[in-house]
Amino acid sequence: MHRIEVRLKPHLPDPSGRGLVKDIQDLGIQGIVDVRVVEVYWLESNLAQDKLELIAGSLLADKITQDYWYGQTEVVKDNANGYQIIEVAYNAGVTDPVKDSVMKAIRDLGILNVRAVATAKKYLLRGQVTPSEMDTIASRLLVNPIVQHVVNQDSVQFPESPQYTFSFIKVPLIQASAAQLEKIRQDYGFSPKEFAVITSYYQTKEGRDPSDVELETLAQTWSEHCVHKTFKGKYHYDGTTIDNLFKSTIVKATKDLNKPWCLSVFEDNAGVIEFDNYWALCFKVETHNHPSAVEPYGGASTGIGGVLRDPMGTGLGAKPILNTDVFCFAPPDYPAEKLPKGVLHPRRIFKGVRAGVADYANRMGIPTPNGAILFDERYLGNPLVYCGTVGLIPKSIARRQTHKSGDLIIVVGGRTGRDGIHGATFSSVQLHEKSSEVSFSAVQIGNPIVEKKMLDVLLQARDLGLYSRITDCGAGGLSSAVGEMGAETGARVDLDKVPLKYSGLTYAEIWISEAQERMVLAVPPENRDAILKLFANEDVEAAVIGEFTDNKRLQLDYQGLMVCDLDMEFLHKGVPQIEAEAVWHQPRFDEPEFADINMEDELKKVLGSWNTCSKEWVIRQYDHEVQGGSVLKPLVGVNNDGPGDAVVIKPVLNSDMGAVVANGINTRYGDIDPYWMAASAIDEALRQIIAVGGNLKKIAILDNFCWGLPNTPEMLGALVRAAQACHDMSLAFGVPFISGKDSFNNEYEYEGKRIAIPHTLLISSIGVIDNVNKVISMDLKAMGDALYILGVTGNELGGSEYFARHQATGNNVPRVDPQAARQTMEALSLAIEKGLVKACHDCSEGGLGVAVAEMAFSGGLGAVIYLKNVPRTGPLYRNDYVFFSESNSRFIVEVAPENEVEFIRIMKGIDCAQIGHVSQEEVLQVHGLAGELVMKAPLAELKEAWQKPLRW
């Protein structure tokens, strides 16, 4: 065995070490002044000096910037140089992408006798710290025991692979006592109602006991994560019975709207709409919450890796062209000493999630130009990680496909390991303080290059017509993918043929493993050789593991024995429907009482709140330009740092048509009324698209519900109300839902206490733009232009950013008048289409005040605003309330003087008023309801307030 260390030359600064010094200071430990990171490689081999020199000196180290050292086991005496040392390595069985690359490169050097490679990182820390502070640095920053350990003398670099001796496990069900039955039920996580159905199935239909892998298959297929039981439940609500909440609200609206350009809705891995005569766009947003709570980097990276495979597994396979990510965390300044046991600090979760998603998306070469980040203390133990992907696919193959009996089942991409065992069931229960100890196998670290290689070949195979159907291996692994594909025909799989990362997996583990970067294809037998060759050409693993049958059974063989033989009908349709009471009571909050405020100070505070502040630090670490289609970027304006509304790309490079993507989310409104929260999220997701020049004619939306434990009538009542709003708004705006997702049990339990997340609904929107050359950005363009507001401002500060700053919720939640909103949006689309609008920004968190400030400092131009001109409704007598109200369906619009007549003509019948103009002086000047001057704030100060919080 050889150990090689590579480190930067001493005179060069170590940027990653410097980042760690900052992170250590964030932990409240000030003593560390210098950190350097050393790369450690272990080679399992017995190499001559010249070979080692070649590997270390010309492959692993860059001689211009780095020094290297190699030897047997002795380490460099860094502690003699005043450093304290922490060396960190991955746990056995955790994916280490680097070791595969190193193996390959060593083979390229012509050295073939290196049997294995392991890597580690050695952190050298200099400074005055106590041993307990060192422990804190290790445990809170450098090591996550879920996937890593600190290396010591007893550590083994190349552990023996565990061996597995096949023994077939039957679960005694038919003769079991009541107590034994209850234990089995709990072991597999079935509800009593589900377990009764299963027991009866084995007694009457099969007349035998189940095997363990059969129960695992049922548990996975019937998990909340996979079958969405709660959303499909029957609820008694407000004197009526709602049978299948999902179908009777969201799906129903789409059916009633019956848009001919909706090509595939709610039936495939992503929803699909028409783009042009040849192309279609598909869109899916997923959540990856629980894994991200315990291992932020790995959890989030597999979240984006997983959602990318949804478009890839839609129709005959789409090319991912855009990502959108929405994260919900507790505030980064949450006091560390108040953290519940078992919870990672929100700052660490934030940084880990950001890095995990960006590293994966950037390596896949998919732009991430859209997203949002929300903060609320209730996300402390259970952060939310939404990842969404848009794909491009020819219309002719965009619909869900079918395969024939006799088609081969081929698994492609990554190998199967023990990673992600029970991920689907893990994400279907709430988290608790022991989660991070029991969940290690549910968390994985993705390998984006494996996925990229797979994607590259899949698109070639698709275009050659080599496979008849495709789906992704997501939650539930092969069990879910093959089980769902074979639902109508039947499938037989030989588990011995599944390529494994290492030995020691049981047959059940092979079947339910959620190892990443895998897809399953149905391939006509005559294409077998051609498709295997295509994958082999680019070094992508592909293996025939079975075939689709015609007996409508799911059959698995292992070492010559049939270990699973289930009726497909029962597997997919047998799950009993949930039935429950749902109620909704309007809560009452105190209305805040405060006066004598300083508007400028208030505006700076609102601009600098975690929710409103600039997210540039995050945005810049995503590649938002790759693929070359960028038209409207996430950062716009005279200094490329203003907060754009929707993002616009050209999916097809030689066409002027565009795709526009946005999102709407505001959880605080849901504390008052989930109905208006959902309506507001839809309004926001639409108005962002309209603000850049999109059009209601062709916009589709996705729903993404994250809720707490759905076991109380109140929790379910909130869900019913939000779903009803989705139905009502979808119909009223004429905007169909095409896909969605729901995640329940988002709660954290510790020391007998529970934190449920706020009801969270993300609405993601996608639209088609006929001519990208006509879209506009939100930054002010020219002095002397008029500023208009569209829409009515009411006393709607309930759940607002402004009230939150005053520690209040209030009751007047923003409502949506979809008829008025639709008229406003249609008129605005027309005005932009005619080239009459130079800049437009919607009013969202922080209302008109934040919108105008952002427009001004993004354009580097001042503005004068007269609040008395703002069209108002209801009792609204305070300047600050007009300024910060979050009434929906409002836009601030910049119009050049020569276009005002035409603009006003188009706005006939719309609530529209001139509220000011663009000025030369770089200040935001606001006059109150009585015409008095209430603010004259330098733009530089406003911008600084907005940029400072997340300038990390």
């Binding site: 990653s16 390596r363 070469g365 070094d539 790759v626 070359g628 960028s630 490329n640």
Partner: protein, 256 residues
Amino acid sequence: MKKVNVLVLRGPGSNCDQETAFAFQQAGAAASLCHINQLIRRDRRITDYQIFVIPGGFTYGDDIAAGRILGNELKLKLGDDIRRFVESGGLILGICNGFQVMTKSGILPEMGSPQAPPLTLTHNDSGRFECRWVNLLINKKSPCVFTQGLDSIYLPVAHGEGKVVTDIRGLRELNSVLYYTDEAGDRRAGYPHNPNGSMDNIAGVCDSTGRIFALMPHPERHIRFTQHPQWTRKKAREFGDGLAIFQNAVKFARSK
């Protein structure tokens, strides 16, 4: 008119291949993608093309160091082909990861020259991957055929390991082609104008012939006007700044 054939290399983790090929097509060339295994198996040969492009991406996940593993592979498995291609007058363009690959494989700063000054790319001073637009000043004295006639251009960067490192001799002898500047064109501008801390603000380098050129910024991401981050504030133009780099290459190859 003579047809110019461009080969855009693909490897595990390449991801700017399609838009780079598109940019060459917009510049009038015939561009096709080619997986490195096809070249290694001799199914296709670089020498059948006039321009060889190593596009952006994260080949092999940037494992060990960005560009290291593909660079190793090119050097060991295709070294002779590349040498012949260069000797016969071919052009090589490396963008972003392509630049990294070309320094790690020794194609730059001077292919097959052990006397060449040291040149490598390392982690950005910020310690972060960053995507941002940069002002670039062209070195008018450079022999680079790709930048002929250009004064300054505006392009995006998107990388984590783009800091050019060399030594005193390198600063004197390297054929620097473009430099990061601020809006006023000042070559001494610091972060974020110089987004990675490159020595002497060097953003791109060519060899002594001027036919082998690599840069960290992405010219293929600014070939049309509406890719400019401030196009909604500006008067419409026909093309983006980056297109000229592809047009120059095609023009040069055509004239041979």
